[in-house]
């Protein structure tokens, strides 16, 4: 009864083109934002903030990045983690080498480095498609991690490329507690998610989707596939880059190139498959799911075996459940959790009188 759009008329195209055209959605969204910005910092423990909420936010951002490239522009990438690494090491070097470099600027510059690298590795997409391209992005994955390990300049000559993030300070204010780091991450992710939403509902986004759905027709209608693909690579890598920098600065503190391996790239891919390919909100749902599942499994296993857990069972079970879920979602609900959410909303519109 509460969720109805009846009686809400759109008198202008501007009203019709809002992100949340239905009033209840808008109110719900404001409530969620309020919960995350105000309520959670007050009630969540340090463990929740640092070990769950911050990584969920950061992975959401990376997943948005991959979703732009794969979900919207239709170019599959298996190198997301490598672009995160570029962002992390980029931001690190900007702060290290330029005195007084503001944190936010370094973050964005790190993202821009990733964007530039992304465009370079996206160039093959102009000639090759589908899994040929997916395999080509593996070149980025292996090459970038290798380069970050082999050239000590990137990590300021530390052994095996380990970097320790500097303290985060904005306008003299230190972000040194989990609550503050969480709020900073949340603010950045929220702004970038809004930007992503704007991009995908504008000409840029339509260009991406057109190239995804049928590139020959896109060209005939006057969209340049080359430009659409390269901007998708650039924007996607930018998002991954910023996510990588946050990964180093507000989540782990210390990172090494090998941490940004193929497994991490797969993880991000799984987030968008489970969350919803081609959906910004799906990126959040998927990230939350993938971060929470192992924790949940761990708790469940401990409860089940009460400490006498067979070695390796947890990690194998995780592999099986991840793999199984991916297949399950691809077969049963290729649009992921985001689509389930939508179906739920459509049911809500009719509730409690479905006929």
């Amino acid at each position: 009864m509460l969720y109805r759009e009846a009686g809400q008329f759109k008198a202008s195209y501007q009203e019709d083109q809002q992100i949340f055209p239905i009033r209840q959605d808008k109110l719900g969204f404001i409530a969620i934002l309020g919960f995350f910005f105000v309520v959670l910092p007050l009630i969540a423990s340090e463990y929740w903030l640092q070990a769950i909420l911050i990584p969920v936010l950061i992975f959401s951002l990376a997943a948005i990045g991959l979703n732009i490239l794969t979900g919207y522009a239709g170019q599959l990438s298996l190198g997301s983690a490598a672009f995160m690494a570029v962002g992390a090491f980029g931001a690190y070097n900007f702060i290290l080498r330029i005195d007084g470099m503001p944190f936010i600027v370094a973050l964005l510059l790190g993202g821009l480095c990733a964007a530039a690298v992304g465009v370079a590795f996206g160039l093959p997409s102009l000639r090759i498609k589908g899994f040929y391209l997916a395999v080509a992005t593996l070149a980025a994955q292996f090459f970038i991690v290798w380069a970050l390990v082999k050239f000590p300049w990137f990590s300021n000559n530390s052994s095996s490329g380990v970097i320790t993030a500097q303290h985060v300070e904005i306008l003299g204010f230190a972000f040194d507690t989990p609550v503050l780091k969480y709020l900073l991450t949340l603010a950045i992710v929220a702004v970038l998610a809004l930007v992503a939403k704007n991009l995908v509902r504008s000409t840029t986004g339509r260009g991406w989707m057109a190239v995804r759905d049928m590139d020959v027709a896109a060209e005939v209608i006057g969209i340049r596939p080359m430009r659409a693909k390269l901007t998708a690579f650039a924007v996607s890598s930018f998002y991954c880059g910023v996510a990588g920098a946050l990964y180093a600065y507000t989540y782990l503190g210390t990172v090494e190139p090998e941490g940004f391996n193929l497994d991490l790239s797969f993880k991000i891919l799984f987030m968008i498959i489970i969350g919803g390919v081609g959906s910004i909100m799906g990126s959040f749902l998927g990230a939350a799911f993938i971060v929470l599942l192992p924790i949940f499994l761990n708790v469940a296993m401990h409860a089940l075996f009460a400490g006498s857990m067979p070695a390796g069972l947890g990690s194998n079970l995780e592999l099986i459940i991840f793999g199984g879920l991916i297949i399950f979602f691809l077969i049963v609900e290729p649009h992921g959790l985001a689509r389930l959410w939508q179906i739920g909303k459509e049911k809500m519109r009719l509730w409690p009188f479905p006929h």
């Binding site: 599959l76 592999l319 077969i331």
Partner: protein, 308 residues
């Protein structure tokens, strides 16, 4: 110069192994249009199942652990497991996804990779096992004496097995009824169905054959570097081979494998020292990529004309 040839031959021999894994990809791709990322996991599963059976069989049957009989029984059981795995994959994973975009199928096989890895380790455990096929990894003496080049006996043996397998598969698909049907299916599913080729039957056979190829590859790789999780990465070695050779070409997989194997070893030895080494991981990809930009359809692939 002797050193150069040594590296080259070593590279070519491992190239044969890459070709073997790549062949598994090509078979499945030709028959069902699926780019099976899980091929590497299948190699791991096959090797682990073989080693696992070899460990438990003496206990179950009271047979001598090192005997030939146990070896072959384990081989047959592992092969049977691979066939079952292949058929299950085809039925449970791929059939519901028929007519989905290629990319979706590809992502499904990534999920399958995780699933197979988890199941394999769940059954047999995750510890690294040695695997002895009875061939020592020592230089072949007469080559060393006559040409002063070190060529490993084991590598030579592995290459012979792989070569024989590739040749027999090529013959099988060229001259048997199943082979003809397979080629028809590869050309056009609908047309093949309409002239009465049992599509699902063919798919099951192909997955079984791919399982067999994975088992052979798993045994050889496992004997060289131990049966361990890293075997799944053989898939990553095979991918550049496929790009180079084209996804649909058996000769492409072989030639591509040889090129990748040789060039990666040569690059590691002769270019590696200048940039800090360890370039084997990405060099094949960059090589394949550079090649792709010149010839997007691969060495033996067919040029595709977009019709609108």
């Amino acid at each position: 110069m002797g050193f150069f040839f040594e590296v080259l031959i070593g590279g070519l021999l491992s190239g044969v192994l890459y070709a073997l894994v790549a062949l598994g990809f090509v078979l499945i791709y030709k028959a069902s249009g699926v780019f099976n990322f899980a091929q590497g996991a299948m190699v791991f599963f096959a090797a682990l199942t073989f080693v696992g059976f070899r460990e438990v069989l003496p206990g179950w049957t009271g047979l001598e652990a090192d005997g030939n009989f146990v070896f072959w029984l384990a081989f047959v059981l592992a092969l049977a497991s691979m066939v079952v795995l292949g058929i299950l994959t085809e039925k449970i994973v791929l059939r519901p996804l028929v007519n989905q975009p290629h990319i979706t199928l590809f992502m499904a096989t990534i999920g399958l990779t995780f699933l197979i890895e988890g199941i394999a380790q769940g059954i047999w455990g995750a510890n690294v096992r040695g695997l002895d096929l009875g061939i020592a990894d020592e230089p072949v003496e007469w080559i060393m004496e006559s040409a002063d080049i070190l060529v490993s006996k084991f590598d030579l043996f592995a290459a012979t097995i792989a070569g024989a397998l590739v040749a027999s598969l090529a013959l099988f698909f060229q001259y048997t009824k199943v082979g003809r049907a397979l080629r028809a299916v590869a050309d056009d599913h609908q047309a093949a169905l309409s002239i009465g080729i049992p599509l699902q039957h063919i798919w099951a056979i192909v997955w079984a054959v791919a399982g067999f190829v994975a088992l052979v590859a798993g045994l050889i790789w496992g004997a060289r570097s131990g049966v361990q999780f890293a075997l799944t990465f053989t898939a990553l070695k095979a991918l550049p081979v496929l790009i180079l050779g084209g996804f649909t070409s058996v000769p492409g997989a072989i030639v591509g494998g040889l090129i990748i194997g040789a060039s990666e070893k040569l690059a590691e030895v002769f270019i590696g020292p200048f940039v800090g080494g360890g370039i084997e991981g990405w060099f094949p990809y960059v090589l394949a990529l550079a090649f792709l930009l010149v010839r997007p359809e691969g060495l033996f692939g067919e040029r595709h004309i977009d019709r609108v």
